[in-house]
Symmetry: C2
Subunit: 410 residues, 2 copies
Amino acid sequence: MKLLNTDTVKEARDKLGERCRETMLRTEIVGLRDAAGRILAETIISHENIPPYRRSIVDGYAVMSKDLAAAGDMIPSMLKITGEVLLGSDPAGLRAEPGCCVYVPTGGYVPDGADAVVMIEYCEPFAGGMLAVSKSVSAGENIVRIGEDMAEGDTLLEKGRKLRPQDTGVLAAAGVCEVRVFVPWRVSIISTGDELVGPGEKPGPGQIRDINTYTIAARSGAEGFDVVRTASVRDDRDAIVKALETARDESDVVIMSGGSSQGKKDMSAELIGELADSGVLTHGIAAKPGKPTITGFDRASATVFIGLPGHPAAALMVYEQTLIRLWRELTCQPEERRLRARVTVNVPAAPGRRTFQLVRLSGGDMPEAEPVFARSGMILPVSAADGYFEMEENREGVRPGDMVDVVLWK
Amino acid sequence: MKLLNTDTVKEARDKLGERCRETMLRTEIVGLRDAAGRILAETIISHENIPPYRRSIVDGYAVMSKDLAAAGDMIPSMLKITGEVLLGSDPAGLRAEPGCCVYVPTGGYVPDGADAVVMIEYCEPFAGGMLAVSKSVSAGENIVRIGEDMAEGDTLLEKGRKLRPQDTGVLAAAGVCEVRVFVPWRVSIISTGDELVGPGEKPGPGQIRDINTYTIAARSGAEGFDVVRTASVRDDRDAIVKALETARDESDVVIMSGGSSQGKKDMSAELIGELADSGVLTHGIAAKPGKPTITGFDRASATVFIGLPGHPAAALMVYEQTLIRLWRELTCQPEERRLRARVTVNVPAAPGRRTFQLVRLSGGDMPEAEPVFARSGMILPVSAADGYFEMEENREGVRPGDMVDVVLWK
């Protein structure tokens, strides 16, 4: 295995991205009820003015503001009530005239002629259909203008947006019942190794329970991917090849999670080289953790292959930095928000490699990031961490008090 | 409607919490593959030592460290190779003896007698089964101790934990195949109003497209709730009662999203009073937005009723502060992380009410929180906001430069 020609994490992503951008980004149309959590594949523009009419934000009376210029607590102004707007009904024919007013409920159509709504709290009906108003109003008061929420031509939501609950509200308000979204990748996870046993089994001497199948499947699901297959296969070349071929037919992404011994790493590279017609693209990345990562692409079936490191912390981090980030980049998602924090202790960087350091965050005005170290094969410290920060390839490390940008774990 | 006896947001939650803690918190057992994203209803303790044997973290040779005390680049130490550990197989009978060494792959069982593993990079096999080692090792080097990841009796994951991908890895490693989690609430959403039309319809004068059904359903789904029914009902008392009765039979939580006019608010309170045998618990909360909120509890069917304000921004915020927070409190979830930020402009608080202010966050060392104002009925500003901060009931407001704790929108 040549580790001399390692790629940076970005190079590894770019090599895959170049090849899969054309074939692996499918879109589909979904209805509003299925849109939340999906990634928009189109920018949504408003084709209407919302609200399409002037809307009252209070229960009150639509008036001409100049009629109330002198109204006050001591000397109310008297207006004639000429009608009532009913919610949701056409107020055709109703018009505010000088000296008159029209009752309007919250959300109601403000009749033409009126330029303000005075709240009901300041009004007192009198005999003969008259209203005493004890407060003046300024023009426009308590009225939402036509198009004030969304104007025709406004950009409502950008391509690459992960639709949140309130975004579906924007779509509903704008009358957009269907949107084009990206089809999530179908992922297969093949774990290999004679030493692996299932979580329900008691590991014998030298055996270990399979962790990566569960963490990678759950991480895939959390990103919206569709986990179509997980399989645990013995260290038998033919059996592994067969499992990989099936996975290639069914999936957009085939994850191989093998051991971390040299012999196993060599076999992963060899098998990916055989099964992916574009061959191995990256053989080793300049990252800590995550050096023994292998990627490949099969053009014929449009399938990405990734051979992950065996250690759980490394496997999860490499998966995050390669495939998850690649998906986000290709689907135009903005970078995740990072939280600025102060490092508590010295953390050396791995020379020439991008270092990803797990941390636990404290609260406070300026959160502190306390490094969490997960030795090879350990998973509990990964679960105890709140997130991680990155140190660039040329960085020597960070010292206590240095500021870092923490990505919070999903 | 009496707004004199409004409850604080916390009082409203507590009144509901007291009544639904006993009857509305069900748990169920799920398998490991279905556990991610669920809320643990039990604390998970380790019943084993993981790893259960001493494990090598490198490919190399298990040795007695004192044999290599003098080993160096110039003068290697010579050891006799007495065996090889195979991954996943029982190394019974293999033992490191003085002057001897045993090959161990990464993740392999370190044979008894050895107290360190020297990396293969520093070893060179010679004729006669001998190995030249050019580096000394300290006791324990490259070995993960028994129980170093998880020791028997360790608390692995606390009750109330929302299981993340890496947490499922902890469960897998610990041999926990099933966990007890909380059963998510079943939610029904009944929108009422003659003025409401569906998102596929063109609103006539005075009409408005239904927004709250979509935002509240999506927000429920994002929290893991099960949205069993959404219905849009005309302003017909009998039709609304029928819809509410059906919803009560099918759900743990019935959300009424009506208009914000006074008449409608009165009707929501009246209907909840009739349908919930414990009556109306909260009639108005001291919050901005969200004053016209009504809650009730039906003991017979164990159903929470919430009448939300009609305005989308208010409805979403009230839903967050009442039901979502109540769920998190009852299921022992920790408070969400808040992001410290500096406010850019003056924001007055509503006197005597808890004020929730939407903000958009900038990046930078100390993020700035720029207030976003959503006038009544508007939804686009809600979607543009990154989150919100709270001002307590007795607060007068915040001034530019003040620090606030921002909750990021889901």
